[in-house]
């Protein structure tokens, strides 16, 4: 087959990212003469530029519809491996913004000195290649391989500090992930067996006309596929690796896991749902709804009593995933992408702030943040804002409206019970974040945190704050991502 111009356009972003990855690796490996600072800066800038190019590209093409790697079929729509459409643009936007944020958080003096710079950025870009492919994938082979391309570099990143904690964290994430991959592949094999195809369009078409016995297998297969993603996004009960891994990884990598890796998982699941693997009214959606309810409840409840900042963020991110799964369960892509966008921005911000504190107070306890509104007002206000957005209360209107959209999706999807669970969880979640906010406001602090914050960190946290403010004032920008 020959690749058409459309194909090239559609995979331009992953392609550029991949090329950028190799370039970064080569620069770092062969430009030994430069100082560490210079090399790091160049690598950061190059990586950022590549991602930025991707963002610009996505922005320029946001309204296009570009099926790529297609194969005409005798009956039914053409089978494509990758489709660039507004939803893809929205997801890529979120993923790339997340990647860009992580790159910013990994600038010189921010990234732990133990981590090899070239490999770090290479792996990061590789993961982004996988993530973007996954978000645009329309066949199961691409989906599963894309997912692997997100996952394997992530585990390498987790262990990249090559210390005791990192290796344990990576092992946990790795084992859970490969098990989930195996489960998912098993499911895919059944899906293939039942429908005879790996293309989502065709599968969705053929799923409708199955006899009951086949339907049962198809359901189990779909369940296994969903479970694979559930591992990835750490939905309860496939979540337990997450807190340990988050704590064990370097903070920047944790941010990466929380933002890019998780968004990729959500994107994959969303693709499955909207393309019809889990059509409206199917049991799979019910499964996702149950997962959503259990996930948000467990995540928020467990976060209630955490005393370490990263662990609290870890559990709260589980809770947030629950909220993400709720609109997913009814197939409301707009609400999901909007939620994801807001989540990505403020999570990056929160991890940025946490990274600053953690660099100087490695214990990472919530009590380290005591009295920060006085001692570090800028950072504290930013962190409070991020937390409030996560909680979904004004002034964090971005969080409020994305939660609102989630509620609306669930109500429109006639899942009243899930809406009630969500309402309860809004309350529990608020309790979680308020504990932290209260620490920040506590005065007088006996040992207030006050340091000379690194310039890149200041810049990044300011950027995240600005972005969060913008999407709070104009929440429609969030939902414009996927229309």
């Amino acid at each position: 087959m020959t690749l058409t111009w459309t194909d090239w356009q559609a995979i331009a972003v992953p392609l550029v990212l991949a090329i950028g990855a190799v370039a970064v690796l080569l620069i770092d490996a062969f430009w030994r003469s430069a100082t560490v600072q210079l090399r790091h800066t160049v690598v950061t800038l190059l990586t950022g530029a590549v991602i930025l190019f991707g963002l610009v590209f996505v922005w320029a093409q946001r309204d296009d519809f570009k099926p790529a790697f297609c194969r005409p079929v005798v009956e039914g729509p053409a089978e494509c491996s990758l489709v660039f459409e507004p939803l893809t643009a929205g997801l890529w936007g979120v993923l790339l913004i997340g990647g860009l944020g992580v790159v910013g958080l990994s600038a010189y003096r921010l990234l732990s000195a133990d981590i090899p710079v070239g490999e770090y950025h290479f792996l990061l870009l590789s993961a982004l290649v996988g993530a973007t492919t996954l978000a645009g994938a329309r066949d199961l082979a691409t989906v599963v391989i894309g997912l692997e391309v997100v996952s394997l570099p992530s585990f390498a990143l987790v262990a990249l500090r090559r210390d005791r904690r990192g290796s344990e964290a990576a092992l946990k994430a790795f084992l859970v992930s490969v098990l989930s991959t195996a489960v998912m592949l098993f499911g895919i094999s059944y899906l293939y067996g039942v429908t005879g195809s790996l293309h989502l369009v065709t599968i969705a078409n053929r799923l409708t006309g199955l006899d009951p016995d086949m339907k049962r297998v198809a359901f189990a297969a779909g369940l296994f596929v969903v479970v694979g993603f559930a591992f990835k996004i750490a939905a309860v009960p496939f979540h337990a690796w997450l807190p340990d891994t988050y704590v064990g990884a370097p903070v920047e990598v944790t941010a990466f896991l929380a933002v890019v890796s998780k968004s990729a998982g959500v994107a994959g699941l969303l693709v499955l749902v909207v393309t019809g693997i889990a059509p409206d009214g199917s049991d799979l959606r019910l499964v996702i709804a149950i997962l959503a309810a259990v996930t948000m409840t467990v995540g928020n409840l467990a976060a209630l009593r955490q005393r370490e900042a990263v662990r609290l963020l870890a559990w709260s991110s589980i809770g947030q995933v629950g909220f993400l799964l709720a609109p997913l369960a009814v197939g409301d892509a707009q609400a999901v992408v909007g939620y994801l966008a807001a989540y990505v921005i403020v999570t990056l911000g929160a991890f940025g702030a946490v990274a600053v504190v953690q660099r100087h107070r490695p214990a990472g306890l919530l009590s380290d943040y005591r009295g920060m509104v006085r001692s570090e007002p800028g950072l504290a206000v930013a962190l409070i804002f991020f937390l409030v957005v996560l909680a979904g209360l004004p002034p964090g209107l971005a969080g409020l409206f994305t939660k609102f959209a989630a509620f609306q999706a669930v109500i429109d999807g006639h899942l009243g019970w899930l809406a009630i669970v969500m309402a309860v969880n809004v309350m529990i979640g608020l309790a979680v974040y308020l504990r932290w906010v209260a620490e920040l406001f506590l005065l007088p602090a006996d040992d207030p945190f006050s340091v000379d914050i690194e310039t890149p960190a200041v810049v990044m946290v300011s950027l995240f704050t600005a972005a969060a403010v913008v999407v709070s004032v104009l929440p429609s920008t969030l939902f414009a991502l996927a229309t």
Binding site: F219, D283, I290
Partner: protein, 588 residues
């Protein structure tokens, strides 16, 4: 400085009322409404009116208030500014009631009076009895006022208006009329301390005596009588209400008179006598005739004069002697100084008691005769049972009244021949009785600022009986005189023997107060405790339990977080199986 301003304002305001009454005298009735708002079909707003009743009551209120304010100038020195301000407000509230043509304006005056009386009764707030008496007064009248308010609703909604002058009994259905008037009657009963809401009035006596005079003579308690007189058409249109009123009045007048016979404190005797006398007015009103209304109002006016006088006299005793309890006064009487040193007080009090007792020639005699006559007319000519009952009970009450007046007068001012200098009837339970005799050297009559009002009111108590024109029914006059004698003679007889039998049941005022305490106060306190505990241990428990279960769940989830990746994997696989089964079950 502020006190002076309020003193001047108080006296000035009272005089202004008198002046207004004088100006309005004889003027044609008028009404005016203002500040109205539309609520649905109803208009809620204010309205005032002037007519004979208004003028009469304004005059009474003005005169009594003037007397009280002037009297207070000398009587009271501490907290004078708040005192005078409140008395002025009190008077103004009564004036509002009197001139109001809107039920709501009337209610405002009605309840502001209640609040003022509460504040004035607790003027000596360092005294326990003043505090509790005040609270009791306010709460009981407030309870009654709820009924009053509902009565306003019933009548107002039934008639489509809250204007008194537009309330036409003919346009209100009988059921609504009865319900409305009965509910209004609840308010009246409370305000005028009729049975069964009588217990607050005697307990209100710890307030300053001038205030008692104001409350008992012209304002507060008289407002009930005024209200029924004002709404007489409406009330008399409901025979049920009138019957109830008659029963209440007859029971009250006898009950109160009996209580007065056993009271051992001048002000308490006077308080019960007020209840009794008000009941007489109500009984006259309950006749439902124009004569009855006239008689009631006539008695209201004379009563205002002599009861105001009596309370002010009691105030002099309190002010000069320090107490109005028989047991204290007796110690002075034993030495014979009270009558001589407080000569003006003695004389005016005598006049007042005579008027109260209905001694022929005094104002009370005439007004009471008018009541009897109206009852007689009603009973005799209309064949009304109510008339007979009223006649009988008023007659009986006249005797009892004469008895306790005579008892009071004799025991307070005169040495009992049987017990000259010895332990007397009231010393039995007085722990101070054997101690030194009081120092009487400084005892003297009060200043003329206080005595002036006494004299003025005494003139009224003497002369008001004649202003209505003398048209005595000689038979009734004779009969009532005999009844008075029947009352006075036993009192004299007992006094001369040095005996003052006070049946325990009467002294406890038939145990009503204690019963109320048991029935209402106790359970309410219990419920309050229950409510606090309920909030804390039931409703609050849910909230706390929610919080605690959240914490516990959090702890439990932490336990699941073993750090062992294989338990994580196991959990995940179990989750897969469970999800498959669960979804299968739900889908089924």
């Amino acid at each position: 400085m502020i006190a002076t301003v309020w003193r001047v304002a108080g006296v000035g305001f009272s005089l202004l009322l008198v002046l207004i009454a004088a100006l309005l005298y004889g003027a044609a009735p008028e009404q005016a409404s203002f500040l109205n708002s539309q609520i649905g079909d109803l208009t809620i707003g204010f309205a005032v009116r002037t007519d004979d009743l208004t003028v009469l009551l304004l005059a009474v209120v003005g005169v009594v208030a003037t007397c009280v304010q002037v009297y207070s100038l000398s009587y009271l020195h501490e907290r004078a500014s708040s005192y005078h301000a409140l008395v002025t407000l009190f008077t103004a509230a009564m004036a509002t009631v009197v001139v109001s043509d809107s039920l709501f304006l009337l209610l405002i005056g009605w309840e502001v009076m209640g609040a003022c009386s509460y504040l004035l009764i607790s003027h000596y707030w360092e005294r326990r009895d003043a505090r509790s008496g005040a609270v009791k007064a306010f709460l009981m009248t407030r309870l009654a006022d709820v009924g009053f308010l509902f009565g306003i609703f019933v009548l107002g909604v039934g008639a489509g208006t809250f204007r008194i002058s537009e309330l036409d009994p003919a346009r209100i259905s009988p059921g609504v009329l009865t319900a409305g008037t009965l509910l209004l009657l609840v308010g009246v009963v409370g305000k005028s301390a009729q049975v069964p809401l009588q217990t607050w009035l005697p307990d209100a006596m710890p307030g300053p005596s001038p205030v008692s005079a104001l409350i008992h003579a012209a304002t507060m308690v008289a407002a009930g009588v005024f209200l029924i007189a004002r709404l007489y058409d409406v009330f008399s249109a409901s025979s049920t209400t009138m019957t109830v009123l008659a029963i209440i009045a007859c029971v009250t007048m006898l009950f109160a008179a009996l209580c007065a016979m056993a009271a051992v404190e001048v002000k308490r005797v006077l308080a019960w006598s007020t209840v009794s006398q008000l009941a007489i007015m109500f009984s006259a009103l309950s006749l439902g005739t124009r004569e009855g209304r006239h008689a009631a109002l006539f008695h209201l006016v004379t009563h205002a004069a002599f009861k105001g006088l009596l309370f002010l006299c009691a105030g002099v005793l309190l002010h000069q002697v320090g107490s109005a309890a028989f047991v204290v006064l007796r110690r002075y009487t034993r030495r014979g100084v009270l009558r001589n040193r407080l000569r003006v007080t003695f004389l005016t009090m005598t006049v007042g008691l005579a008027a109260l007792a209905g001694v022929p020639g005094f104002a009370g005699f005439f007004s009471k005769d008018t009541v009897l006559e109206a009852a007689w007319d009603h009973a005799h000519h209309d064949g009304s049972v109510i008339g007979w009952v009223v006649l009988a009970s008023v007659g009986l009450t006249a005797s009892l009244t004469a008895f306790y007046c005579a008892r009071l007068w004799l025991w307070v001012f005169f040495r009992s021949p049987a017990l000259a200098g010895a332990i007397g009837a009231f010393e039995v339970d007085d722990p101070m009785a054997d101690l030194e005799d009081p120092d009487t050297s400084k005892l003297k009559d009060a200043s003329w600022l206080m005595l002036g009002p006494l004299v003025l009111l005494a003139v009224g108590a003497l002369g008001l009986g004649y202003v209505d024109g003398l048209h005595l029914n000689w038979a009734i006059a004779l009969g009532s005189t005999v009844l008075v004698l029947f009352g006075v003679l036993p009192a004299y007889s007992l006094w001369s023997r040095g005996a003052d039998p006070r049946p325990a049941v009467l002294e406890r005022e038939l145990g009503v107060d204690r019963a109320y305490h048991g029935i209402f106060v106790g359970p309410v306190r219990w419920l309050a405790k229950l409510s606090v505990l309920g909030d804390r241990d039931v409703i609050g428990a849910y909230v706390r339990a929610a919080g605690r279960s959240g914490t516990l769940a959090s702890q439990g989830l932490r336990l699941l977080q073993t750090g062992n990746v294989q338990t994580y994997l196991t959990g995940a696989v179990v989750g897969v199986v469970a999800l498959a089964i669960l979804a299968g079950v739900i889908a089924r």
